[in-house]
């Protein structure tokens, strides 16, 4: 188990009793990241690319160094595979509109899975509708696992794209994306991975996984809000066209026409979130302080312990029982609505999420309309699971 990780995070100094079980929504921010953003805002602030003075040159240099660092984080030696976006949602929408829109025709199909977040659901659904293409949602089994043979059957000659998440933000299912990507590539189908829930803890080396597109958000990997990444494999870079027009993305502008820079610069129109990029860069430095295997081990220990504790409470039912569970558990309490559960846990300083978690079709398939979700990160401890259990037991007693 990791030890004393709370000390990196100022929020736990301010609220020592806070039991934060909502890291799937956003991870807490370490001091290192907060300091990096403050440092930029206080002493290094200048716009990039356009100045010829020292501060601007240095901001530009650090911005591009961050791009290099993100590329390296994915095992890529080419920083030009990395575009900065505002987050996972933005990255997925860019691929839908800039890459797939011109390639998708009537009667083609786009494939996603029932485990996907609305961010990786609606962009493809809307595009399919617009193109009169088929929107295929691969089902899951009753435990919340993807069946690879079912998925394979959903991919055919008319499949133009497959997009899926690595970890389900609702059920916690971790999917073997390596195998799925290989399956799809055998049929020449490009694959996008929504890595929002896994990027902080898992090694997503491009050479091992060979994804075509990858999306993630800074705020779920100890970085700030409003910054995200879109990785595009070298072979597709020239197929990404601008989706948002403005300054900073052009080669040449005349009254008659405009020619654009190449990816990634052609999708970074306007002034980017420069301090956010500095924060993201230092979030990667923060993650490098830890061994990823140890982080996964730490979270897995907590999740297994929590599962056992929850099962031991009469009236608590865990939704889904995936073979490989990440640090996320959804559950319901018999007779008590998830919102009421979350409100009462809040009274005991336990922060959890209640609702549909942006996965309405998934919850419908699991025959529930809302759940309580707990999610763990490196700063959580077993004793917090005990507190969760005690509060739930007390609530159930109070309610009856």
């Amino acid at each position: 188990m990791l030890k004393n990780t709370k000390t990196y995070f100022p929020i736990f100094k301010k609220y020592p009793d806070l039991v934060y079980l909502d890291s799937a929504a956003t991870t807490q921010r370490p001091k290192l990241v907060i300091d990096a953003i403050n440092q930029f805002n206080s002493f290094e602030n200048a716009n990039i690319h356009r100045g010829v003075y020292d501060l601007s040159n240095s901001a530009t240099k650090n911005f591009e160094l961050a791009r290099e660092k993100v590329a390296k984080y994915l095992g890529s030696t080419n920083p030009k595979t990395i575009a900065f976006t505002s987050g996972t949602t933005n990255s997925i929408n860019i691929v839908a509109s800039s890459f797939l829109r011109p390639r998708l025709n009537k009667d083609d199909n786009v494939v996603i899975t029932l485990l996907d977040h609305h961010a990786n659901f609606i962009p493809w659904q809307m595009l399919a509708k617009e193109k009169e293409a088929e929107f295929r949602v691969v089902p899951i089994d009753k435990n919340g696992n993807l069946d690879l043979t079912v998925l394979e059957k959903s991919l055919d000659q008319k499949t133009k794209f497959l997009s899926l998440n690595h970890i389900s933000n609702s059920l916690g299912t971790t999917t073997d994306i390596g195998e799925i990507i290989a399956l799809a590539h055998k049929k020449n189908i490009p694959v996008m991975i929504d890595a929002a829930q896994s990027i902080a803890y898992y090694d997503l080396d491009i050479h091992q996984l060979d994804y075509d597109f990858l999306a993630f958000s800074g705020h779920k990997m100890f970085g700030p809000f409003g910054i995200g990444v879109l990785y595009v494999a070298e072979k597709w870079m020239k197929n990404i066209t601008p989706y948002n027009y403005g300054g900073g993305i052009i080669k040449d502008v005349t009254i008659e026409d405009t020619t654009f820079s190449d990816f990634p610069f052609n999708i970074e129109a306007g002034t980017p979130n420069i301090s956010g990029v500095m924060g993201l860069s230092s979030a990667i430095d923060f993650i490098h302080k830890f061994d990823k295997k140890e982080m996964i081990q730490h979270i897995s220990d907590l999740v297994n312990y929590c599962t056992d504790q929850l099962i031991s409470i009469d009236k608590v039912k865990i939704i889904g029982n995936p073979e490989n569970r990440s640090g996320i558990i959804s559950f319901v309490v018999d007779g008590i609505h998830p919102h009421d559960v979350a409100s009462f846990l809040n009274q005991d300083n336990i922060a959890v999420r209640a609702g549909m978690h942006c996965t309405q079709p998934l919850l419908a398939a699991m025959n529930t309309s809302a759940t309580v979700r707990v999610s763990f990160s490196i700063y959580n401890e077993r004793k917090e699971v005990d507190q969760l259990k005690n509060s739930l037991v007390e609530l159930i007693k109070f309610w009856s």
């Binding site: 919102h339 809040n346 309309s369």
Partner: protein, 144 residues
């Protein structure tokens, strides 16, 4: 203002849980003269209000659906308040209730049940649950 755990528990015990466990006219009446949804897509709470209106007055009213204890209790209380009153009076009640619910200070006095709902606005993050049926009904009535 944040209420203490004990205060919240007392409010729940005295008013919300009884209302939640024995909601007023909790039954799907699909043949009512008017039906409308009170739906919060952020959390998935959804109630159908089935309203029988005679001569511009609410005759019998029922509701059905799924939601948290607060939204269910709030809907149940709302229905009991509007049965037998005119649409015009229902609009006035909804407006007055919502005004007192959303403004910092409660200026009007209500009966015990409505006062309880208004007190729960200090239960952080739950005001939308209280508002849900009131806003849905008001929007419906304002449409004419």
């Amino acid at each position: 203002m944040v209420v203490t755990k004990e205060e919240v528990q007392a409010l729940y015990k005295a008013h919300i849980l009884p209302e939640n466990n024995n909601p007023y006219h909790f039954e799907a009446k699909d043949n009512a003269s008017t039906s409308l949804d009170a739906y919060n897509p952020m959390c998935g709470d959804k109630f159908q209000l089935h309203l029988n209106v005679k001569d511009d007055t609410f005759d019998t009213v029922h509701f059905h659906g799924f939601g948290c204890a607060i939204s269910k209790a709030s809907t149940s209380i709302l229905l009991r308040k509007i049965e037998g009153i005119s649409k015009v009076d229902a609009i006035a009640l909804c407006e007055k209730f919502l005004k007192n619910l959303t403004e910092d200070n409660q200026v009007d006095e209500f009966d015990k049940e409505l006062n309880t709902l208004i007190a729960l606005k200090h239960f952080d993050g739950r005001i939308d649950c209280i508002k849900l049926p009131w806003e849905a009904l008001l929007a419906h009535l304002m449409k004419g």
